[in-house]
Structures are given as C-alpha cells and as structure tokens.
C-alpha cells in the first residue's frame, strides 16, 4: 500500500481526464458547459422568434445578477473551509442594505465604508459566538440570522427605505466601464483578493489546517479561534460590500431584500467543491458554483421555464451534482449493487 502511494507521488498514473476530474470543482465546470450547450441548442427550438442564446452577453448579465451572491460566497468559502457555516448571511445582507440606504444621505464615504463596517461588526458578533464561546455554528448563525432579520424589519419599520440620489454612489451599481458593468468589476476584484488570501498567504493556509484537523492545528501553534473569528468578520465585511452594490443598483432597501439568499450562497460554495466538513475548497470552485447557479436561472428563462420549474430543476441538478461529488470521492456503492 505504501509502495503504491510513493509511486503515485512520483508519477501520476491517472489519465489526464481522471486527473482533471480529481480537481475540486471540475464536476460543476463540466455541468456548466453541458448546461450552456443544452440551452444554446434548445432555446432556438423553444423560441424560434428570438435570436437564440448569446453566451457572451449572457455571461456578463449572469455575473451582474450574481454579484452579491458571488461576493458573499467568496467570503463564505473561508468560513466553510474552517469547518463552520454561516446561515445568517441572508438576513445580514438585508440588514446592511437597510443601513446602507439610510447612510446614503451622509455622503459616498459614509454609505460605502459605514455599511462595510456595520457588516464587519455583525460578522464579529457571529465570530465571537462561534469561535470565542465555541458554540455550534449552524444553530448560532440560525439564531443571529433571526435576530438580524428582525432588526431589519424594525429598522425599516415595515416599509422600504429609498435613499436620495447620489451620482457617485449609484455608479457603483448602475455604471459601467466600457461594456463591463461596475458590479462585475468589483466582483472580480473581490474574487482576486480572496483567491490571493486563500492561496498565497499564511493565513489562508492555516484555514485549511484548521478545517482539516483542528487538533493538529492547535498542536502546531495555530490560533484557530482568532482565525475562525476573522473569517466571520471578512464574511460580514463582504456582506456589507454586497449590500452597497445591491442598494446602489436598485436605490431602495426593504426588509425582504435578501431573505432566503443564504441557501443560494451556501449552495454556490458547496457546488464548487468546498467540503462542508472543512479543510477543502477553492475560490475558483466557488466562482464556478455561483456562475452555474446564475446560468441555471438565466438559461431556464431563455428556455421559457417558469420560476417554479426552475427551482425544481435546480434542486434536482443540485442533488445530482452533490451526490456525484460524494460518490466520486468515497467510491460509494449503492445498496442495490452491494450484493455483487
């Protein structure tokens, strides 16, 4: 057994295809390509009057639609890599959006940096509860999610907040440089930052160790608690940034703005090959994950499927993708094949 391993380290005997499949996120990449090809072929048939499915313009519109999900998903990847979860991101996004809308009147800097700061503080609360007090992250963030959600409703007193117009602020959501919309540029910057943090910094490497083996992390002198708290603060700050773009785009905020979005965000991260058990995951995978969810909705619309059918299809594809991932990894034998 040991010999076999040492050989495989020296020279990978697997075929290139198998090697590619071994990379986390490769499954969702293939699924993404298949889905886009399928939509390209089917959309002229379903809707002969239309111009078909233009991949280039749709990539940009999908990325623009997915901006807030993408920004938060990148930060949440760090949290999930350490083996925790944050279910409060949806409510946090709503609350920070409401705060942002009311801060616009104090100027650009207040609206942008104030919101990010508020987000970071909300994240810090999660971080203190989860890593400081070492509470179960699932239930803790479920609880803080309820609390943040109610704060948002109380803050907006039931209605919606419409900020005064502010050109510089609105540019963040509605403007574009050349053909690329501003939100997509911000998303690209955020993706680059988080990819750099995760791959090239010691902090990023520590997160993998904490997620893969908390005990080993402690013995090798890693301050897991501080790092875990930091991932929550980063997530909060990212949520704040996402809220800024969201408000700048629609110029209003209401208490239902992003309810339930946490599920979509978690799905994006997990689809990209990040293990919910921690210790494994990449930003590239997360990018593919939220792109896939975006294209799923976008392509379904092109095919003329209604929202409800989209959910059903999305659910089925998610279950299939997750199952395929697990079966690939563990070599699961299905019960009806066991007898052989």
């Amino acid at each position: 057994m040991i010999e076999k391993n040492s050989i495989s380290v020296a020279k990978d005997p697997r075929s290139p295809l198998k090697k590619f499949m071994g990379i986390s996120g490769s499954g969702v990449f293939i699924a993404l390509i298949i889905w886009i090809v399928l939509v390209c072929i089917l959309s002229p048939i379903v809707n002969p009057a239309g111009n078909g499915f233009n991949v280039a313009t749709n990539i940009i519109s999908v990325l623009k639609q997915q901006t807030y999900i993408g920004i938060v998903a990148c930060a949440l990847t760090l949290v999930i890599i350490t083996g925790n979860i944050d279910l409060s991101v949806g409510s946090m996004l709503t609350l920070t959006a409401c705060v942002c809308a009311s801060l616009v009147q104090y100027g650009f800097a207040a609206a942008v940096f104030g919101t990010i700061l508020v987000g970071a503080l909300l994240g810090l609360v999660n971080g203190i509860l989860v890593s400081g007090l070492q509470l179960n992250s699932f239930i803790t963030t479920l609880g803080t999610g309820s609390i943040y959600g109610s704060f948002a409703i109380i803050y907006c007193s039931g209605g919606s907040i419409v900020p005064p117009s502010l050109a510089a602020f609105e540019f963040l959501g509605k403007g574009s440089v050349g053909i690329i919309p501003m939100p997509v540029i911000i998303l690209a910057v955020v993706v680059a930052i988080f990819a750099f943090v995760l791959m090239k910094t010691v902090f990023g490497q520590r997160l993998y160790v904490i997620g893969a083996n908390p005990v080993a992390a402690r013995y090798s002198g890693i301050s897991a608690r501080r790092d875990m708290a930091l991932t929550y603060v980063f997530t909060g700050a990212a949520v704040g940034l996402a809220a800024v773009i969201m408000v700048a785009n629609v110029m209003s905020a209401k208490p239902q703005a992003a309810s339930g979005k946490e599920m979509e965000i978690i799905m994006a991260v997990v689809l990209g090959g990040t293990s919910i058990m921690g210790g494994k995951g990449t930003i590239l995978g997360t990018v593919l994950g939220f792109a896939f969810i975006g294209f799923l909705a976008n392509g379904s619309t092109a095919l003329g499927l209604n929202q409800y059918l989209q959910w059903v299809i999305m659910g089925i594809i998610l279950v299939a993708a997750l199952s395929a991932d697990i079966m690939k990894e563990k070599g699961v034998v299905l019960p009806w094949k066991k007898s052989k």
Binding site: N136, L142, G315, L334, P335
Partner: protein, 328 residues
C-alpha cells in the same frame, strides 16, 4: 434524566439537575408569567394547544431526524407539498380519505428522497436537504403561485375544512381531531423511542455510528426510516394546514424549517445527535407557542417573535456550552 444526579457527597446536585432541564425551567417561568401576569392567558390557552399541534408534527418529525445526528431543512415545504397533493387528489377523486392517504404517501416519498441522498449516498444532511427543499418548494409553488389553491367545489372545501374544525368532545375548545391525532402520535413515538429496539437503535445511531454498526445495527437504515417518518409527519401537518385554511397556500411552508429547528434546539435536542426525547420537543414547542401567545396578548408586533426565538436559541446554546465544559 429521570434519575437524580448524585454527587460524591451523596447529596442531590441541584445545579446539574437545573441545568439539564433548562427548557423545563424556561417553560415554567413562562407559564408563571403568563398565568399571573397576562390577562386572558388562561382563556386563550386552548387556542395555543390547537395551534401547537400543527407545528408540533413538524418538530416531532425533525426531532426524530435530529436524534440520529442528521438534520432536515426541508420540513416546511414537505408540508406545503403535502397540502397541495391533498387538494389535488381531493379535486380529482372527491374523497377526503384518498386525499389524505395520497398526501401521506407524498410525504413518505419526500422522506425517501432525503433519506436516500443523506444516508445511502452520504451527502451532508444540511446541504442535501437545502437542495431537496428547492424541489419541494418549486412543486408547491407551481400550484399555489396565484396565492392559494383551493378545492374547485365548495362542498369539497367544506369537507376539507371540517377536518380541522372537528371537535372530538362537544363543547371543549381544544379537543379537536387534530390535537387528538397529534397527542396519539406523540405518545406512540414516546413509547417507541423509549421501549423498543428501534428506539434504542435511533439513539445509538446518533450517539456513535461505529459502535452501532459493530453491535449489528443497520445505522443507515435506522436513519433512513427517521427521514421517512419525518416526511409522513410533515405531510400530516400539511393536510391539517390545508384543512385549516381551506386550501393549499404558498406561504404555508415558508420559514417552518427554521421554526422547527428552533423548537427542537430550545427544547433540548442536541445538534450532535444521540440526546433528547420527545418530551424535549414538546417543551420546546410550548415554549415557542406560549411566547408567541404572550407577545400577541401584549400586542407586540410579530417581528419580535423572530427576535426572541433567535435570542433564546443562542441563550440555550450558551447555557449548554458552559455546563458541558464543567462535565469534561
């Protein structure tokens, strides 16, 4: 839990007893506050019981799943889907009995799907049930997108409504058929978990899968069955929900997953599995319903319900955290 914890000195460790039953203490405080501090609390209590029966079914089902160490975040839309199936079959056949059976079968199917993906394939239960939730949600919305989906015939609608309104004991406010059914199911599950082989294996599965396997327990099958039972119980809740409002509504399943998880955790079911009984679920259920009722009676907005449940969730976690550290 029943045995009194005895310290080395031979006295009863009251502190530990108190901490182990923190949900009972919270419930007691709420009852005292309600009975002595709030007007009309006793008068409105029967309605609390009737309301609790609906949420109780979801929470009991989820509780079973949680004892095995898994989770089900799709309970709300399993109920929603069952409500849609009830109305659909009622429209097609005109028979309430067939409709109920079909709804329960649909719930069982949902449970099979969840159970298969989680136990046989091994997808993380949290992620798997978020994914299946999209399927159930989509199917529910497909029929209820216009707001509600009611039986086409008015007499059928009356038949459906009669199920929820039916009183077992004439003149009694809370002995409705739903409460009776829920009570019977509750006692049955209490017995199954405590006294039967299967109940034992549920706890072992949650406590230590490996030990369970060595002891010859099919832990995967045990966990699978809890998902199926959960699906059936959710479906029953869905039938009652449809019956209460005379049709299926798209809002019915919304937010129920969080509510059910809150009920179980506040009651004392642990996320890690292997701990908690149906009594805990019942306590969690009444804590949540009584808080809602008290807030209603003092005319506080519904928003504060979410706020209180969030705070309560974290409070319960913190109490658990500091008491379990003492044990170690």
């Amino acid at each position: 839990m029943e045995k009194k914890q005895v310290t080395a000195l031979g006295g009863v460790n009251y502190r530990k007893l108190l901490v182990d039953n923190n949900s009972a203490v919270i419930l007691l405080i709420l009852l005292v506050v309600g009975v002595f501090g709030i007007d009309k609390f006793i008068k409105t209590f029967p309605s609390v019981v009737v309301q609790a029966s609906l949420y109780g079914l979801l929470a009991v089902g989820l509780g079973l799943v949680m004892i095995t160490g898994n989770i089900d975040l799709s309970v709300g839309y399993q109920a929603g889907l069952a409500a849609v199936v009830t109305v659909m079959v009622l429209n097609a056949t005109g028979s309430l009995a067939i409709a109920v059976v079909a709804a329960l079968a649909a719930g069982a199917l949902c449970g099979v799907l969840n159970g298969f993906v989680v136990t046989q394939i091994g997808v993380s239960p949290l992620i798997a049930t978020i994914a299946t939730n999209y399927i159930f949600k989509g199917l529910t919305y497909a029929k209820t997108s216009t707001g509600s989906y009611s039986p086409t015939d008015n007499s059928l609608k009356d038949t459906l409504k009669a199920l929820y309104d039916f009183k077992v004991v004439d003149g009694s406010k809370f002995m409705t058929l739903t409460v009776l059914i829920v009570a019977v199911i509750f006692i049955l599950l209490l017995f199954v978990l405590r006294k039967t082989r299967y109940g034992n294996s549920v706890y072992i599965t949650g406590d230590n899968v490996e030990a369970g396997e060595y002891a010859g327990i099919h832990t995967k099958r045990v966990a699978m069955i809890t998902y199926i039972l959960c699906g059936i119980l959710c479906a029953l809740a869905g039938v009652f929900m449809a019956s209460r409002s005379g049709g299926a509504q798209y809002t019915q399943g919304d937010g129920m997953d969080v509510l059910a998880v809150s009920i179980c955790v506040i009651g004392g079911i642990k996320m890690t599995g292997g701990k908690g009984t149906m009594v805990h679920v019942l306590m969690g259920l009444f804590i949540m319903r009584i808080i809602t009722n008290i807030l209603n009676l003092v005319r506080v907005e519904a928003t504060y319900m979410d706020l209180t449940s969030g705070i309560l969730l974290i409070a319960v976690l913190i109490i658990d955290r500091f008491t379990s550290r003492k044990k170690a």
